[in-house]
Symmetry: C2
């Protein structure tokens, strides 16, 4: 970047915004590669897989920066969101910038920082694929992941305006957001890109990624939404009931509406149609999420989706050429996305066909 | 895109936003390819070059959508800017959306539409390079173009805060914006990508693109800024003096400050430090741009840069293997970026070494 006053600030913010993630997506990609590849961790393909894993993390940072602008969020990972930090920088650097202009400049710089990091994520992939099998397909799927997340963000904006009279439609809309905005880059793409880097057939990779990654990623987001109402602040670092305070349309809300009597349903619809909800509202709504069975229903949904993901792993094991070690490694890698108390064991019987150690 | 209410609106806006451009960049790429390639217009490489040309146009639309959000612009190519059109759509589609929320939603959807089109532009390149020479390099340079424009936008935001006391620094800052935000994707990338698609050596392509495209693209932007003060509205479709009204820091302003006496310089600094400029101000400032010699200085700058671009073409002709037809075709293609009255002819003597028709 040429010498100027904002360039260093934007570059520095790129590093700050990239810090503090749990790297769950990168880890899944590396573990899925290791499960499927006989090449070993020192091979050129393994180094390529590591680069792709980094590219996904850079993409996530880019997507979060744009998300936070759209949501007008102030905080990300315990620090000022990128657009807020950049706004503060312009406020303190330029005499002629007042508070309102600083906020606008911060958003403008944040849009560009997100663009720069999205571009960088693709550059990382382009540099990585030179020595990998399926090079054109890996790039194609990486870009499809970008597109899916962008589509998911549009769906998320639309979901804010879903009516509260039809719990089924609300749950369906919310689950679609989970599929496109979360599962796409959290579980589907890491699995598909890992398998492509391991040199497997592109149709096999695509099928396996969808079968395993779709239920797994949706379960992950359901568990995240559940934490918002059942965890304590100390364990999550977020205030309890934050989604409720924001009026977010969630599967929990849909299930609570479906399980409510007429009075409670009217109360919920009224509070979620309002512009904000008080601390008392949040407490009462959390109480309803429990008493209507919505919390239990989300736990059942997660258990069922985890079961579906396991079935996906088992059904694809032959096509992926997984031996017993590979199968167990992939199950373990996927299990990180599910709270430990909701993980059902795969019975040895259901693994059946894959226990004879091909490859 | 899955079925939802906003998806079709965003998709439709992608088409609307893509209309109405002059396709200057695509034409330069196709003509530069034709000048350098012996393959003919029906070859797979020529079809690949056409795809890359489309990819640049899609990228431009993406960049303009984000630019218009950052600049809070209402109009683009005579229609509502994308974020404004999408804001209006949400206002009329959702009962619970007021004017302020519609503007915010429009900006959010505009950020996503820009992201989607930037992603699409890269997908077009990825599909095109499969059968082209230099495939990894073409993608690398296409992504470098993305990055350069994003950096240029950051420089542009910084340039708004350049002091008015140092005309040299102001001119330098403004020319840097032209290099990164305009020349990058208007002339440098089209030339480099065309030559790479024609199968030429990557270092030769890079050198030629910088030598020809840098002065050409800067001259193009200087001519565009000049039109803002010397053309009439009928020929440009824009109100005269629009840049002055916005307080834009331009090379014209820098040259006017450099050529002013103390009183006029103080007047210009005062008006450009103010939050807005009246119609009388605009008329007087245009008068000063003429009387201080700034308009004439911009014309001289354009003539000199066009000369430099021509020298670039001639000096690279051997390395590019251009025959006389190719040389003339490339000069003609580049000349479209320069107003006809400012195009100096290349003397036959200076073409010297390239007249013997290699290839």
């Amino acid at each position: 970047m040429p010498d100027d006053v904002l360039g260093p600030a934007v570059t520095e913010q790129a590093l700050v915004s990239g810090e503090g993630g749990k790297r769950l997506r990168a880890l899944l990609l590396l573990d899925a590669f290791d499960a499927a590849s006989p090449a070993g961790t020192d091979s050129p393909a393994a180094r390529g897989a590591l680069d792709i894993a980094c590219g996904i993390e850079v993409f996530q940072t880019a997507a979060l920066i744009h998300d936070d602008i759209i949501d007008e969020a102030d905080v990300r990972r315990g620090r000022p969101a990128a657009h807020r930090a950049l706004g503060s920088f312009t406020r303190s650097s330029f005499q002629d910038v007042d508070d309102a202009r600083a906020r606008a400049l911060g958003s403008g710089l944040g849009i560009m920082l997100g663009d720069l990091m999205a571009t960088a994520s693709v550059s990382i992939i382009n540099a990585a694929v030179g020595t990998l099998p399926n090079r054109g397909r890996i790039m194609d799927r990486f870009l499809a992941m970008h597109r899916d997340v962008e589509v998911g963000q549009v769906l998320d904006l639309a979901a804010e305006h879903l009516g509260l009279d039809d719990p089924d439609a609300l749950a369906k809309g919310s689950l679609a957001v989970f599929r496109w905005k979360t599962a796409s880059y959290t579980t589907i793409a890491p699995i598909e890109l890992a398998l492509l880097a391991a040199g497997l057939d592109e149709d096999v990779c695509h099928d396996a990624a969808l079968r395993i990654g779709t239920p797994l990623g949706i379960a992950f987001q359901l568990a995240d939404d559940l934490l918002d109402v059942v965890a304590d602040t100390a364990s999550t670092g977020k205030p309890v009931g934050g989604d409720i305070r924001e009026g977010k349309r969630t599967v929990l809300l849909a299930d609570a509406l479906a399980g409510s009597d007429a009075d409670d349903a009217a109360y919920l619809r009224g509070r979620f149609a309002a512009s904000h909800r008080s601390d008392d509202d949040v407490r009462r709504i959390i109480g309803l999420f429990v008493s209507t069975g919505a919390v239990e229903r989300s736990r059942e949904r997660i258990i069922a989706l985890w079961h579906e993901a396991n079935e996906g792993i088992v059904s694809c094991a032959d096509a992926l050429g997984l031996d017993e070690r590979g199968l167990a490694a992939l199950v373990t890698a996927c299990s990180r996305f599910i709270p430990s108390d909701l993980r059902v064991e795969i019975s040895p019987a259901s693994r059946g066909g894959s226990r004879d150690g091909r490859r």
